[in-house]
């Protein structure tokens, strides 16, 4: 396979196109602007649609409109812009429409910074908008993994008829790495598989006209709708957990981390291995569903003394790590906020200091 040197944001955009995405609605915000820029050039070449919306609110509602036709639709933004999209995301989840939302996370709260951040973990995994819903959330840790995940994200969205979020950070989108791109895929809406898709032929459609809607005005109907959603979420939890286990053999401490931070933690783990210290890592690739059982099982291995969660925030995934461990082993935390990426040396030092007291 030929390797191509590509910038993360452009690789993600191209991977979405190759997964059959032909509709992109977005708005400029650093550090994701290269995604709409790339789409604005590429979509006309392949007969797709790039439209710069008037706002993030406009963009996500355009996604709602286009997703209701059954086509593969993408929007991307960065933290403050993703906050603006939350209203639309909740409607999309309620109306059960598949689409992919990219969040290139930066530092917060508020306007925060334009450098990498992981402070949107809660927003991405615990709802974000109003109402009882979940997004499937993928957190790639490299440009190649981001590419590979784009087609999985679209397939997952279609399979469960739900919005899927891919969270990266400024680091993944801004760096260049040698990658392999998948083959181009054309996507055709199949009304057998998507009988709900609106195409204007509602009057004569044998399945009845499409009503793309998240409103269920009676308590009974809304309750029934939520039960249906929850059943789908349980199915996703049972089938879609993805994680990477790294260097787990004879691990004394397990590091948990996601995205770019996991990659930095890997460097610390590799350094320590050379020094004869075994540290393992569980890296959730799906932040929701979270690998609760898998992490707990790993931490219950006889040699494991503790878990260290490392994040570029004040400790958000930490809450899920603690839920997974459920008090059965000590859980410690090392994090930076304010977009100051932790270094391998700092993580190494933290692990060694933990080791002294364990």
């Amino acid at each position: 396979m030929a390797l191509t040197l590509m910038k993360g944001s452009e690789a993600i955009a191209e991977a979405a196109i190759r997964a059959g995405c032909r509709y992109f609605f977005g708005y400029p915000i650093t550090p994701q602007t290269e995604i709409p820029e790339y789409m604005s050039e590429r979509m006309p070449e392949i007969g797709g649609c790039f439209l710069q919306a008037e706002s993030e609110v406009g963009a996500i509602n355009m996604v709602y409109g286009a997703a209701g036709t059954g086509e593969r639709v993408l929007t991307s933004s960065s933290s403050p812009g993703v906050s603006l999209k939350q209203e639309g995301i909740s409607y999309i989840a309620g109306a059960q429409l598949p689409c992919v939302i990219m969040n290139v996370m930066r530092g917060g709260p508020g306007l925060g910074s334009i450098q990498a951040g992981q402070g949107d973990y809660f927003q991405a995994t615990k709802g974000g908008g109003h109402g009882d819903y979940h997004l499937v959330v993928f957190a790639p840790a490299s440009v190649q993994e981001s590419i590979d995940i784009m087609s999985v994200a679209f397939d997952t969205a279609d399979k469960y008829q739900c919005p899927v979020m891919v969270v990266a950070d400024g680091m993944i989108c801004q760096m260049m790495e040698p990658v392999v791109l998948p083959e181009m895929k054309e996507y055709k809406v199949d009304l057998e598989k998507k009988p709900w898709a609106a195409n204007g032929h509602g009057f004569s459609k044998p399945a009845g006209r499409s009503i793309i809607n998240s409103m269920y005005i009676t308590t009974e109907a809304l309750s029934e709708h939520n039960e249906k959603l929850q059943a789908i979420y349980r199915e996703i939890e049972a089938n879609e957990v993805r994680f990477e286990a790294y260097n787990m053999e004879n691990a004394e401490i397990i590091v948990t981390a996601f995205g770019t931070v996991a990659r930095i933690a890997k460097s610390a783990i590799d350094d320590l291995k050379e020094e004869g210290v075994n540290i393992g890592m569980i890296r959730p690739i799906t932040l929701w569903p979270f690998p609760y059982k898998e992490l707990h099982d790993a931490a219950m291995a006889p040699g494991v003394k503790a878990v260290l969660d490392v994040e570029l925030n004040a400790g958000q995934m930490l809450e899920d790590v603690k839920l997974a461990i459920n008090g059965d082993k000590p859980v410690d935390f090392f994090g930076h906020y304010g977009s100051q990426m932790p270094t391998p040396e700092e993580i190494k030092e933290k692990l060694l200091s933990m080791r002294e007291v364990l």
């Binding site: 008037e54 509602n61 355009m62 409109g65 409607y91 609106a198 032929h201």
Partner: protein
């Protein structure tokens, strides 16, 4: 027996939830008849708003979306970009289009989206129970302007057709009213034009319909028609504000 009149097939048999004397029912019928008369029954997607017409998806007998408050023009944009040959319309009230959704309607007009927008202006928030709208007249009492709307405090009522007609790629903007038979006939003509222009590849097309809200205005249906004529029409003059097809 010869059939002299039939309900348009573009309305379902679902009973309207609208209050007695409310003009939404007439507006729905005019839109539905237009769709049928233009032969668009199997090539049309509608977008319902948040407000009194929130259940419009139950009434229009075609593919329908329910949009978030004010977002219908953005939702319709997403649909139209996928199905450029399909007729796409939004049906919005004044709280929806003229307050929370100004950004969406202004930019849909700026992009010249090939859409038809049916805009119901009844000078009040109906669904939430009679609050002040951006279209509420000066001095008009509502549940959030109990002393009457003050221009000093809340500004003057927004004139949507006047505003949108300034936008270069707004193709057609007309204001009509449903207060008497002659005006209803004119409204039908305007709606038909707004749909025809879209199918000819033009946009944005908007028809602003002055409508009554007897319940929240606190009038009988007949009094409400009179109030519309005496108070709304002088501030919101009827007529064509933009018609690039006629230029």
């Amino acid at each position: 027996m010869a059939v002299v009149f039939e309900k348009t097939k573009m309305l379902t048999d679902t009973v309207f939830h609208y209050c007695p004397g409310c003009n939404h029912g007439i507006a729905h019928r005019l839109v539905a008849e237009t769709i049928e008369e233009l032969g668009l029954e199997d090539n049309v997607i509608g977008v319902a708003p948040v407000g009194c017409a929130v259940f419009a998806y139950d009434y229009f007998n075609c593919d329908m979306y329910e949009a978030a408050h004010g977002r219908a023009p953005a939702v319709a944009t997403g649909i139209k970009r996928v199905h450029p040959e399909t007729c796409v319309f939004t049906y919005q009230g004044d709280g929806d289009l003229a307050s929370i959704g100004t950004n969406e309607i202004v930019h849909a007009a700026h992009r010249g989206e090939k859409l038809t927008v049916i805009f119901i202006n009844n000078a009040i928030y109906g669904m939430t129970g009679g609050q002040m709208a951006p279209t509420t007249l000066i001095g008009q009492k509502t549940t959030t302007s109990p002393y009457g709307r003050s221009e000093e405090w809340s500004g003057a009522p927004i004139k949507v057709c006047e505003m949108l007609s300034q936008i270069p790629d707004c193709y057609y903007a007309e204001r009509v009213a449903l207060n008497n038979t002659a005006n209803i006939m004119k409204a039908k003509k305007a709606i038909k034009k707004a749909f025809q222009y879209q199918m000819d590849g033009h946009g944005l097309n908007i028809v602003e319909i002055l409508s009554t809200c007897p319940t929240n205005w606190g009038f009988s249906p007949v009094e409400a028609l009179k109030w519309l004529e005496e108070n709304m029409i002088p501030y919101y003059p009827l007529g064509v504000y933009k018609d690039k097809g006629a230029e």
